[in-house]
């Protein structure tokens, strides 16, 4: 059954990767760690849930409004807080992003209650070794991969991307070359949050159940682990890191079962962190960090 586990891990990992890219993009450009990252994933899930259940909108179409909501939230975050804290100590931005996350979670709780919500959307399955693999898991992964490729194109094949990379390497040098650094900061925060809410929409389609105001916490830790593994500040590293964590989560359970371990599922978390420990000892900057 190993092929099934690997495919399943890659599918899950690609969404984990997309969910982490927003975090690492903002860190790479602004050197700001968005501690409230999970709250934006939650918002994306709710956008999909409400548009599907209230207006029967195709869940995959809800990706667009989810992305737009994220863009708006990103701009709000930048103009109300981050812009004023660009030269502030790191602790200030940590507290502000943490606070924004709490505001979003509590607002969601006030607006929609703390109930666990869910929906059912089925597209059929493909079969791998006789076991069905639902298409509602495959399509979100393909879309996540497409978004990452689009981001790669923007960052490495456009003038905007060149400007972004210039700001990452040397903000003062970029200003001298005529780059509007503040605009780049704004765009990257908005894009980072937009991709995060879009990943939330995809995770909503992937899981479909258990959506609640605090669900983002489950992804925040994973996103940090993946970001560190891939190299903080490296979007492509984040995606590859996501794939690695996804595959480990899916394949370690049967492998530990074969080894006769008493609690294989619990050990998969242990294995993920052990791998990160080893990678950080060998490459403290992460797999793709500089």
């Amino acid at each position: 059954m190993l092929p099934y586990y690997i495919v399943s891990g890659l599918l899950l990992g690609s969404i984990y990767g997309l969910a982490t890219i927003g975090l690492t993009l903002i860190f790479g450009v602004l050197r700001v760690i968005n501690v409230g990252h999970g709250a934006y994933i939650m918002i994306g899930m709710y956008v999909t849930f409400w548009l599907f259940t209230l207006y029967s909108l195709n869940p995959f179409v809800t990706l667009i409004p989810a992305f737009l909501v994220g863009l708006s939230l990103g701009m709000l975050l930048f103009y109300t807080a981050l812009k004023r804290l660009l030269r502030a100590p790191e602790l200030s931005t940590l507290i502000v992003t943490f606070g924004f996350g709490i505001i979003l979670e509590e607002s969601a709780k006030v607006l929609w209650g703390s109930d666990y919500r869910g929906f059912v959307y089925d597209l059929g399955s493909v079969y791998i070794q006789g076991i069905p693999l639902p298409l509602v898991r495959m399509w979100p992964a393909i879309i996540a991969l497409s978004l990452v490729l689009a981001l790669y194109f923007v960052l490495y094949r456009t003038r905007l991307g060149t400007a972004v990379r210039a700001v990452i390497q040397d903000p003062e040098g970029a200003i001298i070359c005529g780059v509007n650094v503040e605009m780049i900061y704004l765009l990257m925060v908005a894009l980072g949050i937009g991709l995060t809410t879009a990943s939330g929409a995809l995770l909503g389609i992937y899981h479909q159940q258990g959506i609640n105001p605090y669900i983002g916490h489950l992804y925040t830790l994973r996103a940090f682990v993946i970001a560190v593994l891939g190299g903080l500040g490296s979007p492509i590293g984040a995606f590859i890191g996501g794939l690695i964590v996804g595959v480990i989560e899916q394949t370690s359970v049967p492998l530990f079962t074969l080894a006769g371990a008493p609690n294989p599922f619990g050990l998969s978390v242990f294995l993920t962190f052990m791998l990160i420990l080893v990678i950080l000892i060998l490459r403290p900057q992460g797999l793709f960090g500089r």
Binding site: S114, R117, Q209, Q250, S252, V253, T257, P264
Partner: protein, 466 residues
């Protein structure tokens, strides 16, 4: 410079000591005071919980003695109104509000010392967090000075709250923690009012044994938390006695969202019966993923989640045929006739009365969580009346003597441990969008639908209508 540093450090330590002193004074444990036995001229002075919870060796039977009656009896507890167990906590709160209304407006208040005393509830949101539970129960006891304590929902949180109540010698009615371990800690003041985990899911196997002797292969998938661990111990023990074979038995960590690795293994094993140990959120998720992967069985029993009406709202027809244990369901009439048959007293609202009141107040059907917390309040009222005292020790002893039936079934505890031995849980099944009680047969409101429809049939709209 060095002297100045020492002065600053000394100053900070002095300020801290003063703050600690003030903090201790404000929140210090109550002083031991004996219960006032002579009524004051005002007739019903407010009796503080300081007096109420004082254990006095001679206060086990104070029926004949006049007591100071408070103008109201305050019952304190926390509930997970947000966080992982928020659904169950919110449902429970609705039940508490109905119970208070019944006691104060229908029953006329607690009959204590020749007077009718209304009750009041004081509760906090513990956010499903153990550390918060501990500090909030401390607060209820030392700052709010409530007269009595009820537990919170789910074993993990109850295990955090119970030692606090025990430390202050306060009666703690556990209506929401089903782990057997709660009553195995040697606590003197913890009284459990519902069926414990080891006996909770096991009747599903009794039912299958009577329905289909050929179904023998049982698979267990469970969350590795306190409650579900004990539930599965009970299932394994019953399976062994009834001759079932456990073909799969794996746990998953708290917070798991993707069960694929376990479900792939399960698909290969092809069990007759699947039993999951979950709460609401993971119960929903695991049902959906079983459907996604098309893993069918003759019967699928899911713990906790299906007893909440939102389960069907989220899953639609996928919930059809899913079986669940429940401490109580609307429609199971443990009424005065049941009490009469047992030869014990009936107390509290009748099942119909509770049902009607709940519908009128909340516009929805009550659930086992609503009913269990309501039942705990009603039992506490009965214990106070039986003891004719607010003394914690007297109330605890009254609980030991109680053998009654309420709308929630029978209440009878092991006097030493507080373990519930009288209550009977039921097995329900989603049939045609409704919860139907299918076991035990003497209180069943419908017949079991067995084997349950396949996921493919349910996706095509098939319902479990016997």
């Amino acid at each position: 410079m060095v002297e100045r540093s020492w002065l600053v450090i000394g100053g900070v330590i002095a300020v801290l000591l003063i703050l600690v002193g003030i903090g201790y004074y404000v929140t210090r444990p109550p002083e031991v005071t004996s219960i006032a036995t002579t009524p004051t001229p005002t007739g019903t002075p407010i009796q503080t919980p300081v007096e109420a919870r004082t254990p006095t060796p001679t206060s086990t039977q104070t029926v004949s003695q006049p007591i100071t009656v408070p103008d109201r009896i305050v019952i304190g507890f926390t509930l997970p109104l947000s966080g992982a167990f928020s659904k169950e906590g919110q449902l429970a709160l609705k039940g508490a509000l109905v119970a208070v209304k019944w006691v104060n407006e229908v029953y006329g208040g607690v009959r204590l010392g020749g007077k009718r005393v209304p009750i009041e509830i004081k509760y906090y949101d513990d956010e499903s967090k153990r550390d918060l539970v501990i500090s909030l129960y401390e607060r209820l006891i030392t700052v709010d000075r409530v007269h009595f304590l009820l537990g919170t929902y789910t074993s993990t949180l109850v295990m955090a709250a119970a030692p606090v109540a025990e430390k202050y010698g306060m009666v703690f009615v556990n209506w929401g923690g089903a782990s057997d371990l709660i009553n195995r800690q040697g606590y003197k003041y913890v009284v459990t009012s519902w069926t414990q985990a080891s006996r909770y899911m096991a009747p599903v196997l009794d039912m299958i044994a009577s329905l289909d002797p050929t179904a023998k292969k049982v698979a267990l998938i469970w969350k590795s938390d306190e409650f579900n661990r004990i539930v599965m111990e009970g299932v394994r023990s019953r399976a062994e006695k009834l001759g079932f074979t456990i073909v799969y038995d794996k746990s998953f960590p708290i917070g798991t969202l993707d069960f694929t690795p376990l479900l792939v293994e399960l698909a290969i094993v092809k069990p007759d019966i699947i039993i999951t140990g979950t709460h609401f959120a993971d119960g929903l998720a695991i049902t959906k993923q079983l459907a996604d992967m098309g893993i069918n069985a003759k019967l699928i029993a899911v713990n906790v989640a299906p007893s909440v009406p939102d389960y069907y709202k989220s899953l639609g027809t996928l919930a059809e045929g899913i079986v669940f244990p429940s401490e109580w369901e609307p429609g199971v009439w443990w009424g005065p006739d049941y009490a009469k048959n047992l030869g014990v007293e009936f107390f509290g609202p009748t099942p119909e009365e509770f049902h009607v009141m709940f519908l009128a107040m909340h516009g929805e059907e009550p659930t086992e969580y609503s009913a269990s917390l309501a039942n705990a309040i009603i039992l506490l009222v009965k214990a106070i009346e039986a003891a004719q005292s607010l003394d914690q020790k007297a109330i605890r002893e009254a609980f030991s003597r109680l053998d009654i039936v309420t709308f929630f079934s029978r209440f009878k505890i092991d006097p030493e441990t507080g373990f519930q031995i009288g209550h009977q849980s039921v097995i329900g099944q989603w049939q045609d969008g409704r919860k139907v009680v299918i076991w035990p047969s003497d209180v069943a409101t419908g017949k079991p639908y067995y084997p349950i429809p396949t996921w493919e049939d349910k996706k095509a709209g098939k319902k479990a209508i016997p």
